[in-house]
C-alpha cells in the first residue's frame, strides 16, 4: 500500500459550497489525510481529464486549522479560467477533487502581534484564515485588516468583517459610505497601521507592489512585510 507522506495527493470530497459574491464561492472539502495548516498556507488542486491531461493550481486555505478534518478554499472565478471556472461550473456537493497540502511556511501567521493584514480582492482569502484563527484562539491580540474591493458587491466574507477591518471601495462605494474610497493610499495605511510588528500583503501583483510600497513609506522594514501574489497580471 502506498504510504501517505505529508503533502501527498489525496482525494477530497466537496461537503459544502457557499456563494460569497457574484464571482466568488467557498468550497468546504473533507480530507481523509487532514493535517492542521498554518493560517496563510495553501493547497494545490489537480484536475485530470479522461485522456490524462492535467492542470494544477494553488489555493489558499480560508478556514481556521481548528476546523479539524476539513479545509475551505475560496475561489474567484476568472473568465475562461481553466481551474477556477471548473470549480464554479462543475463542482457540486458530493464531488471528489484531488488536492495536496498544506504548503509553504513563509506567508503564515503563527500568532505574531501586532499584525496588519492588507488584502486586495481575492487576496483576502489567506488573511481570512488568520482572522478566523485569531478569533478562535486569541481574540484580544492586535490584528487589523485593510481590504480593497471594487464595489459593495465584491466584498468577500462581508458578514465576518468587524471593527478590525478598514474597507476601501476602489470603484464605487455603497450609498452613504463614510469610510475610505479609492485605491489604497498613505492616509488609509496610516489609520490602520501599527507601525510595528508584521504586515501580510496579498492580492494581484499590482496591488501587492502598491501596498508594500506604502508600507515601506509608513516605516515598515522590508523584513516586516510578507507578501503573497496570486495573479498573473503583468
Amino acid at each position: 500500500m502506498e504510504r501517505l507522506t505529508p503533502g501527498a495527493w489525496q482525494i477530497a470530497t466537496v461537503v459544502g459550497i457557499k456563494q460569497e459574491t457574484h464571482s466568488v464561492r467557498s468550497y468546504r472539502l473533507k480530507l481523509a489525510e487532514w493535517v492542521p495548516h498554518l493560517p496563510g498556507q495553501h493547497y494545490d488542486v489537480r484536475l485530470t481529464a479522461p485522456d490524462g491531461y492535467r492542470a494544477q493550481r494553488s489555493y489558499s486555505v480560508a478556514s481556521s486549522p481548528l476546523d479539524a478534518g476539513e479545509i475551505e478554499l475560496t475561489v474567484d472565478r476568472l473568465p475562461d479560467g481553466e481551474v477556477s471556472a471548473y470549480f464554479h461550473e462543475v463542482l457540486v456537493v458530493g464531488d471528489q477533487i484531488e488536492v495536496r497540502g498544506p504548503f509553504a511556511s513563509y506567508f503564515v501567521w503563527r500568532g505574531e502581534e501586532p499584525a496588519l493584514l492588507v488584502g486586495g480582492a481575492s487576496g483576502i482569502v489567506p488573511l481570512m484564515s488568520m482572522l478566523r484563527h485569531r478569533r478562535l484562539t486569541s481574540p484580544g491580540s492586535a490584528m487589523r485588516l485593510i481590504y480593497s474591493v471594487r464595489t459593495a458587491d465584491d466584498v468577500i466574507f462581508a458578514d465576518e468583517l468587524g471593527e478590525e477591518s478598514f474597507i476601501t471601495f476602489s470603484r464605487r462605494p455603497p450609498e452613504g459610505w463614510m469610510g475610505h474610497t479609492g485605491r489604497i493610499d498613505a492616509g488609509l495605511v496610516s489609520r490602520a497601521a501599527f507601525g510595528e510588528g508584521v504586515a501580510y500583503v496579498c492580492g494581484s501583483n499590482g496591488f501587492v507592489e502598491t501596498a508594500s510600497g506604502l508600507l515601506l513609506d509608513a516605516g515598515y522594514g522590508p523584513q516586516q512585510i510578507k507578501t503573497e501574489r496570486f495573479g498573473p497580471t503583468s
Partner: protein, 203 residues
Amino acid sequence: MADFVSRGFGGGRRAPEHLAKRMPPGQYYEKGFPVLTAGPTPRVDLASWTFKVEGKVVSPGEWSWEQVAGLGLEQIPCDIHCVTKWSKLDTSFGGVSLDRFWDRVEPRGGFAVARSTGGYTTNLPMEDLTGGKAWLVWEHEGTPLTPDHGGPVRLLVPHLYLWKSAKWISQIRVLADDYPGFWEANGYHNRGDPWREQRYWND
C-alpha cells in the same frame, strides 16, 4: 491514484500541440510574465550595486555594474518554469554566463548560495551553475529587466524552477556543504527540477 479522473474536466488551457512536449508536468502555458516574490520589491541603485563571488574560491571577486556589462551581452533563448504552475516558452534574456566569473575566481566547493539585495537567498549545487547553465541577466526580450522581474540584474537558471533564479542578485557564496536558502527552508524542494516536478520537500 493515476486513474482518478475529475468529473466533467476536459482541459481548457492546453499548450499548443507542438509545444506540449516542452511543458513539464503540472505546468500550464502562460503567454504573460507573472511575478513571484517573497516581500516588497527592493529599490536597487546600479551606481552603488556590485556583484561579489566569494567563499570557497581561490580569489574572491567583486564587479561593478560597468564591469559586469563590460563582459558582453549574450542572448539566452529559453523556457522558464515557475513553481506556482506557469511556464513561459520561447522567451529570451540578455546577460553574461556565470562561467566568466568562475574562470576568474576558481571555485573549490560543490555548493553555492545566491544572495539578493533585500536578503533573499537560494541554494544550488555548483553543477547547476557551471557549464553554460546559468547567467547574470539584465535584459528580457530586448528591454531592461524591470524591478518586479528582478531588475536591474538577476540570476537566470532556466533548467530549474524560477525561484532558483534569484532576483536583484548581489552575491554568490561558494560552499563546501549544502545550506538551504529562503524557499528551501520554507517548504520548497532543495533542487527544484521542473521535469521531476520537485516542488515541495517530499517530492
